[in-house]
Symmetry: C2
Subunit: 112 residues, 2 copies
């Protein structure tokens, strides 16, 4: 594939974007979550269209699983896969990272 295959690029590719990290974070801590429950829990600002698309991508990459109860009204749950759990380690660190706080100050440690 690439000459300098670090693994970073691939991992980043899978998790990247504005929402996937947050979705995974929720599913990593909640067992099984329904669509709208997930939608609201994330921050209420993700549209169903976007959430739907991101979920599909995560499913395609094997990080999460879709469970359709085929009832009426519909009930669908999403769940992290064992594979998806491998993201827990670095998402955890990202969360703990002081990066967030620093960025929020909009003025990063400058040595100018």
């Amino acid at each position: 594939m690439k000459e300098v295959e670090t693994g970073i690029d691939i991992t980043l590719e899978v998790v990247c974007g504005k929402w996937k990290g947050l979705i995974l974070w929720k599913l990593l801590h909640e067992e099984a979550v329904r669509f709208n429950e997930l939608r609201r829990s994330i921050d209420g600002d993700i549209s169903s269209r976007i959430l739907s698309r991101e979920l599909h991508k995560l499913i395609e990459d094997g990080l999460i699983e879709r469970i359709d109860y085929e009832t009426m009204p519909p009930k669908v749950e999403y769940q992290i896969t064992p594979y998806g759990q491998t993201t827990a380690s670095f998402l955890e660190i990202m969360k703990k990272s002081e990066m967030a706080d620093i960025i929020n100050e909009e003025e990063v440690e400058q040595k100018v």
Copy 2:
């Protein structure tokens, strides 16, 4: 800001994209690197235009630093900042993650 501020989203925002992880990885392990040296080391497939832009973004976010020797011909070096080093922890994990290998097999552990 957001209701569910996990820190993940912010961190992801800063590191996201096709190249920034790789750039950081190189700079985390190399002290100071010159533009074309960096360009070649990454995999030779990043155009100077893209590399330039990604570097600018990383500088803006305070992750790396630009050192211009103001010589002729030009010599410029890029260096990770202490702040940028906070990415080392999860980039390290991403690299180690089996995710890369699994994805490469194109067929992820399916329980269908």
